[in-house]
């Protein structure tokens, strides 16, 4: 008790504050209207006259719905690609011994080491040549690159947690390797794979830089808001930010347990 516990509780409070206060302030500004945004100090409690007028105003900005649709399109594609590429790669890392497996594991993480800003110009040129420029599909490819390291590593740890004997038992009792994977391994890994999918979706949904660079007219929601909201009044900007945060926070909340498995911590 006492000191250890005090440090523990303080840590929790600090971390919660760190995460929750910005979200709270954004929410406050989004529902509080013009007065709250400009007032100082900020009211601690939500204003009594909570109004969703600002948020409604935000949704009435022309192009918001279209770009939201592009965002969903890019995010769904990113999710699909991450699963289709990341899960088999994770399976291979977990089950097969091949030269350079450890190096490969590290290299996967290194893909995140290149700043998108440096890649932006060559990517743009390349995408224009390939006819992918200014399409949600092109954006989803870029986002897949960002999400893939997580997809591969998380699914590798998922498969590692499934005993090899279960698969071998399936082989012995009449399954081909593919059938054994579908009947035994996949059902056991499914919750984790769902978490990987949602995580890929959120990465794509939140990503703004690559999306801004790679699109002109078919902008995803984040990229669109970046260009439009800079001219809007402050409280509408907050409303936009708030609307963007909600899906991500909800998703992360639902998959939070699964994300730990990325670090090899067993979650049962």
């Amino acid at each position: 008790m006492t000191l250890r516990r005090a440090v523990f509780i303080t840590g929790i409070v600090v971390l919660c504050t760190w995460t929750l206060v910005p979200i709270y302030l954004i929410a406050l500004a989004a529902v509080g209207g013009r007065t709250v945004v400009n007032s100082w100090p900020k009211p601690f409690l939500p204003p009594t006259d909570v109004s969703f007028a600002t948020i409604r105003e935000f949704f009435n900005i022309s192009g918001v719905w279209t770009s939201a649709f592009y965002s969903v399109e890019a995010a769904v594609l990113c999710m699909a690609f991450s699963i289709l590429l990341g899960v088999p790669a994770g399976y291979a890392l977990a089950r097969f011994v091949f030269p350079g497996a450890t190096t490969y594991r590290l290299l996967i993480l290194l893909t995140r080491a290149f700043p998108v800003a440096i890649l932006a110009l060559p990517l743009t040129v390349g995408f224009i040549r390939l006819g992918l420029y200014d399409t949600p599909f092109g954006v989803s490819l870029m986002h897949t690159t960002l999400a893939l390291p997580f997809a591969v590593l998380v699914s590798a740890s998922l498969f590692q947690a499934i005993p090899r004997e279960l698969e071998e038992a399936a082989w012995v009792f009449g399954c081909s390797p593919l059938r054994a994977f579908l009947r035994v391994v996949l059902p056991l890994a499914l919750p984790g794979i769902a978490a990987v999918a949602i995580f890929a979706f959120v990465i794509s949904w939140n990503e703004v830089f690559a999306a801004s660079v790679l699109t002109v007219r078919h902008k995803t929601l984040t990229a669109y808001l970046l260009s439009v909201l800079s001219e809007s009044p402050l409280h509408v900007q907050f409303a936009g930010g708030f609307v963007l945060i909600i899906p991500a926070v909800l998703f992360i909340f639902f998959v939070r347990k699964r994300l730990f498995s990325m670090w090899g911590i067993a979650t049962r």
């Binding site: 038992a169 399936a170 012995v172 009792f173 081909s176 059902p187």
Partner: protein, 362 residues
């Protein structure tokens, strides 16, 4: 039903030789135990029979058919894994019926087989539960039932009882034996527990460092080990080995004079089981000084030394024993095994020894 022929199997992992030129014929309906310490290659051999491991060279035949190139599912066998490998996302019923479902059997037939296998292993009450809700012993039964439900021609078991507590193990052992005898399945059973192997098997193959040391009926392996390793590994306490000098075709140990098998040797190893030593007079026995006496119930185990060499003796429980006392012992003539001291290989037993005692008598 099928016999198994293991033909000159070698398996190496990198520079490590796990199995070296292993030959083994297992008859149809036979229960063969692969016995050996951990790391001796017994599990590797089992996995090669199953098709889960590819041998470096050699072939496996099941029922006269060369299955070396076939995947596990085409070999017509079933397996019980050491950690059971019961599918956690399926109910007990689905687990037991898994093999038949994969083979595309009719629902009614699957239902019948599942009921039969479950009844055989007394898990009918748990059919609709999930493995997480079962105890270790129950999961073990599910794994065996799953293997029996497909009515395999060959059943492979990898230390299936090693995760159970002692009492449950004893119980399952007896049940397994009766169940498998009834089914008449050719069984290969991997274990490091020599009592398990002795109790269950028709024949035991003792493996050590990737080589088969001896194949034979349990009683034969126990009484006449082919190598010093087998004598030391099979039986608890292990066999006693005494290295003796040969002079004029005789060996002498205290008052005991024996004639080893003919041959020009300087030294020879006498192997004798602790329970095959009997008390004798000082004139025809060798002295044995008791250091520790352990009354184990059915018998007393004595640890001590004879002429500076360690020795274990098992005597009946009513024998009067005192620590520190020197008694005289002689081996039962027909139970002696003679070993080559350099190669550790048996070179004779029984009759030769008997001759020796007669010769010593006159």
């Amino acid at each position: 039903m099928a016999d198994i022929v293991i033909d000159n199997i070698t398996k190496s992992f990198g520079s490590f030789l796990a199995l070296e030129r292993v030959d083994l014929d297992i008859a149809d309906g036979e229960f063969l135990a692969l016995l050996g310490p951990s790391g001796c290659g017994k599990t590797t051999l089992l996995r090669i029979i199953a098709g889960l491991e590819t041998p470096s060279s050699g072939r496996v035949k099941i029922g006269g058919r060369d299955v070396s190139a076939l995947p596990p599912r085409k070999r017509g066998l079933a397996m019980v894994f050491q950690n059971y490998a019961v599918f956690p996302h399926m109910s007990v019923r689905q687990n037991i019926g898994f093999g038949l479902r994969m083979a595309g059997a009719e629902a009614a037939w699957i239902e019948r087989q599942v009921a039969r296998a479950a009844a055989l292993l007394h898990i009918e009450a748990n059919l609709d539960r999930y493995p997480a809700q079962l105890s270790g012993g129950q999961r073990q039964r599910v794994a065996v039932a799953r293997a029996l439900a497909v009515e395999p021609s060959v059943l492979l078991m990898d230390e299936p009882l090693s995760n159970l507590d002692a009492l449950l193990r004893l119980e399952m052992r007896a049940e397994l034996k009766s169940v498998l005898r009834e089914a008449g399945t050719t069984t290969v059973y991997v274990t490091h527990d020599q009592t398990e192997a002795m109790g269950l098997a028709d024949r035991i193959a003792v493996l050590h460092a990737g080589r088969i040391q001896q194949i034979g009926a349990p009683a034969e392996v126990y009484a006449y080990p082919a190598t010093t390793f087998v004598g030391g590994f099979v039986g608890s306490p292990p066999m006693n080995f005494l290295t003796l000098s040969v002079e004029n075709g005789r060996v002498r140990l205290g008052g005991l004079v024996l004639a080893p098998p003919a041959g020009t040797r300087v030294q020879i190893v006498l192997g004798v089981r602790p329970e095959d030593l009997q008390t004798a007079g000082a004139a025809e026995g060798f002295p044995f000084t008791v250091r520790v006496a352990e009354p184990l119930g059915p018998h007393i185990m004595l640890t001590g030394e004879t002429l500076g060499r360690p020795l274990r003796v098992v005597v009946p429980p009513e024998t009067p024993v005192q620590v520190g006392v020197t008694m005289h012992l002689r081996p039962r003539g027909d139970r002696i095994v003679w070993m080559d001291p350099d190669r550790g290989v048996a070179i004779g037993h029984g009759e030769a020894a008997k001759l020796g005692t007669e010769a010593a008598g006159d």
